[in-house]
Amino acid sequence: MANLTALATAPARRFAAVFSPPSRTVLALAVICFVAAAHFVPHLLTASSGPDDVTWAKRSLEPWWFGEPRLIGEQWTALGHRRYYYCVHHPSLARIVYRWTLRSAGVTSLPMEEWDYEADSAANVAMGRVLPYAIRTPLRMVNFSFYLAAIILAYLGLNAVVHNRALAVFGALAVFIDPGAARGLNDAVTYIGADSALAFLTMLSWFVWLKSPQCSLRNAVLVGFVCGLAAATKVNGSFVLLGALGYYAAFSRGWNRLALPLAALAAAAGVFLALNPVYFGGGFGWAAKVFRDTIRVMFYLREVTTVTAWGSYTRFEVIMATLPHLFFVVPVLAICAQWRRDVWFRVTAFWAVPPIVLNLCLVYMYMSRYATPVRTGFLVLFMSAGLKAFQTIRSAHPGAGTRNPHAGSAGGGLSAAAEGCCDG
């Protein structure tokens, strides 16, 4: 009975251990909250309304469950067309959160028209297509909450790697707090859209994966579930899932090389479909049409954007603006190579590299919110490897004064748990 109780409470105890000891955790979280609030909130409160704000607010107020009849042809009413477009334009999670926020604030409809992207900005403003302050501010505070949670998850993940709260706080803030960011309307925190929610869910997927690195069915389903949430937030959130599938295929044994990726994929597909009910109710042909239209809208928007002056950049320029750290490649490889056999590094690399590579392949113009997932992946990988090495040097110096309980086994708990943990 005692064993059963211990087994039942193990996840809770493991979760509580993340925040232990409480005094230092509270101090670390207070520092993170203060720095993040001081950095982001003043700008969020004073930023003007952007072109996409009205579109996203209207999209959020429409039912995300898509109550229209499933018609393959063009037989909808204008309202039906608009609702369908909203559903295939972006997956649902950010819409659901925004909808809940707006309806909690008593907003059920917006009187103004959507932004006309073919007219200039002044004409749109003159037509009153601006999201009122009382509506855009709560939505931006939702973004800030997501982003703050992402920073906290980065802190918890880095602490799990380096076992040093001060270094973890410093690293998490260095990854997410760019002194030059959050000044425009197209930063992930300011922009009313799916980007800050995506930042949160990608960090959540890293943290969950890092804390459950063993190749077991339970972990595969758990990681797949969180990756499904990321995919249900923005299409490129699915890149994290690709990394998870590769990880389970690479480090499992026997049939698990096939079974665990399939389990993760099934969990991700399940949560994605549950949050996007537009796929149901019309058979396989209908679901295929919705999927096709989702991809088509993405490429349509890309074409529309690149024919304007916004898109007149070479591929090299876009990549260098999105990830200007590329010329650090030699130190990055040198620092990362030494941890290549540690499980925390494998997890972080499989989590980070697919989004970096695929986003850089697909990104067609520089925008800081497009750069956020790329830079986050790169910096979390590089920062965890660099801080781990720094902490190890610190622990190796006699009299360095470290209080690191894992100093004696500098590989840390994740490394200790790592050996043989991926044997299925």
Binding site: F316, M320, L326, G386, T392, I393
Partner: protein, 213 residues
């Protein structure tokens, strides 16, 4: 002067950096690898953001570094002569580059092409180098006892400070002086092996991993 005229000077700067890395690492492949990212990503690939002043500054700064490195390996009059050469290279660079224009590439681009270079969000990329510096600081700490470390560190710090404080429009990812200041010390440290007793290192001299449990 067009960007095409500036390119030979940029190439000369890279050759000088490779020579300096070779003197430090004594390994031709390592020297090439250390300089390769600069060769691939130098400003000539980015519609000519780099101009004549920046190319002058790059050649001058690379020459100063090479002479400082050589001076550490020489004694007596030879060392004095090399140090005089370093001072001359620095003075020529400062004169030719018309500081601070060398760092202010946006102004140069505006003069050449008649419109501002707007691909990058100048504020967003203004501080991109800080997190990688934090992450790789341990490399510098490990190599602080190496003979080449302090000349390189002081040289890089001055170059970086110039870029940070004198550059108005911070297209740092296209700025060769800034790339030199960041990449040369870090890549050299990454490609070299730390001296015994320089502190705990992440890598065993044979490249293995020492700390895994």
């Amino acid at each position: 002067m067009s960007i095409l005229d500036a390119q030979p000077m940029t190439a000369a700067a890279l050759v000088a950096l490779a020579a300096g890395c070779l003197a430090v690492l004594r390994n031709p492949l390592g020297a090439l690898l250390a300089v390769a990212p600069l060769a691939l990503l130098v400003p000539w690939a980015a519609r000519g953001v780099s101009g004549e002043p920046m190319a002058h500054l790059s050649v001058s700064a690379a020459s100063v570094w090479v002479t400082l490195i050589l001076a550490k390996r020489l004694r007596g009059r030879a060392r004095g002569a090399v140090l005089i050469l370093a001072a001359a290279a620095a003075a020529a660079g400062i004169y030719l580059a018309r500081l601070p224009e060398a760092w202010n590439s946006a102004k140069w681009f505006q003069q050449q092409y008649g419109y501002p270079y707007n691909v990058a969000d100048t504020t967003y990329n203004g501080y991109f180098y800080i997190p990688p510096l934090v992450a790789s600081s341990y490399l510098l700490w490990e190599r602080r006892c190496e003979w080449w470390f302090w000349p390189t560190a002081v040289w890089a710090a001055l170059l970086l400070a110039g870029a940070v404080f004198l550059g108005e429009a911070r297209f740092f990812q296209y700025s060769l002086p800034m790339q030199m200041a960041l990449v040369v010390p870090l890549a050299t440290a990454a490609m070299s092996r730390p001296a015994p007793g320089a502190g705990g290192t992440g890598r065993h001299p044979d490249g293995g991993v020492t700390w895994r449990t």
